[in-house]
Amino acid sequence: MRVNVTVNGEKLTAGDVWPGESLLYVLRERLGLPGAKNACEQGECGSCTVYLDGTPVCACLVAAGQAEGREVVTVEGLADGDRLDPVQRAFVECGAVQCGFCTPGLIVQAHALIAATPGVPADAEIREALAGNLCRCTGYEKILDAVRLAAARKAAP
């Protein structure tokens, strides 16, 4: 089957889609957008997090056909050309990226948290918001630093 979906503002069509395929597979293998990562395919790690109609979800758990006619934003869609999104910049500056596999999902999830929170979210809020994103490398401290930095810059630019 064919799936029509708007990804990062562009109307795209994926052909030859198997009906049991996930949105993640379509993004990575059919539309050439490898930003969202495939690690567990069972919703446990969050590395495939993308926006679906403005809400962060695990792309591995959305059936491709469920994305028909909807809007998806992946980590590739956050930067403005070469200008990184403030959340991306904070991750780089804080050393919150090691192997980088968890990073795209964390960036999208952190982006959603910061967009929804006025001011700097409390640590407990950050931890709860990122509870579905696993990182095997950093120990999370630098990730928390990055989220606080990006939120502080948004609050007082």
Binding site: M1, W18, P19, G20, S22, E41, Q42, G43, E44, G46, T49, T55, P56, V57, C58, C60, L61, V62, A63, G65, Q66, E68, Q109, E128, A129, A131, G132, N133
Partner: protein
């Protein structure tokens, strides 16, 4: 595999009647895991996301009718004030991403004994609104769970909504797991006090082949509580309540915990939720 995409509720019911073997998919947080891990391939997926009728909830006569497409996130933010037990349980489901997609109706469809919405639905006396081209029926929640991962839906039926009465007293939910997020319950317990009719509701999760109530514990506690004067129940009564909850359970040993641990934990959760509920009732 076929992918069916009805856009109205009437079309969805017609599609289910024509393809009774099709697997409905709402949030996909159970269905897609099975497909991704190749644990079973349905002959067809019946996508309910486009069905606008399922995306809303409303209230009338003290009952909330929660459409099958309403996510846990929305239950928490939009319904928490009136359905605190269900909202507390919803908060413990998976992660934000899972709660953004997963639904109470999907939890009912999966009917896992460990599903977190079941104990509060049992404790509050909810009803499942099932519909097919043949008509609508309201299934009392206690009759909905028929076996491990089995429910009372007929092959041509879909869940239209879950109906939950507005809380008429304190409601609490407690869940045991290895961390605070992303855990399937080792066991869980829901409690609802109904001071208006002097009744108590309970729901046990992950400690029997199906979610179930503890009717004797409910009757005992309802008779024991000082509804009028609001003095605290005696320590013996609290302990006895815990014992009766334990007697209603029949857990097994599995990878998440042993039978003995679950029985012990259930008694603790029963006593604790009662403590929280009574403190709230007394206005503390």
């Amino acid at each position: 595999m076929d992918f069916l995409r009805p856009v109205t509720w009437a079309d969805a019911l017609a599609a289910k009647a024509e393809h009774p073997a099709a697997t409905p998919i709402q949030g996909g947080t159970d269905v897609m895991v099975e497909i991704n891990l190749d644990k079973g391939r349905p002959s067809a997926l019946l996508d309910l996301n486009p069905v606008a009728e399922l995306q809303d909830w409303d209230e009338s006569d003290g009952w909330f009718r929660i459409g099958a497409g309403v996510s846990y996130t929305r239950v928490i933010t939009e319904l928490g004030a009136w359905l605190p037990g269900l909202a507390q349980a919803s908060r413990t489901v998976g992660s934000p991403q899972i709660r953004n997609r997963g639904t109470v109706a999907g939890n009912l469809g999966a009917a896992s004994p460990a599903g977190d919405s079941h104990p509060p639905l049992l404790a509050s006396g909810a009803m499942v609104e099932a519909e097919s081209v043949r008509g609508t029926r309201l299934i009392p929640i206690g009759e909905f769970y028929t076996g491990v991962k089995r429910n009372a839906l007929a092959p041509d039926e879909l869940i239209r909504a879950v109906r939950v009465p507005r809380a008429d007293g304190p409601q609490y939910f407690s869940k045991i797991g290895t961390r605070n997020a992303m855990v399937i319950a080792v066991c869980s317990f829901g409690l609802a006090l109904h001071p208006g009719r002097r009744e108590v509701g309970t729901g046990i999760g992950s400690a029997a082949p199906t979610p179930r109530r503890a009717p004797e514990a409910e009757r005992f506690l309802a008779g024991e509580l000082d509804w009028e004067g609001r003095t605290a129940p005696s320590p013996e009564a609290v302990r006895r309540f815990g014992e009766l909850v334990v007697q209603a359970a029949s857990p097994i040993d599995d990878v998440r915990g042993t039978r003995d641990y679950r029985l012990h934990a259930l008694a603790v959760m029963a006593r604790r939720t009662l403590g929280w509920a009574w403190a709230e009732y007394k206005g503390e």
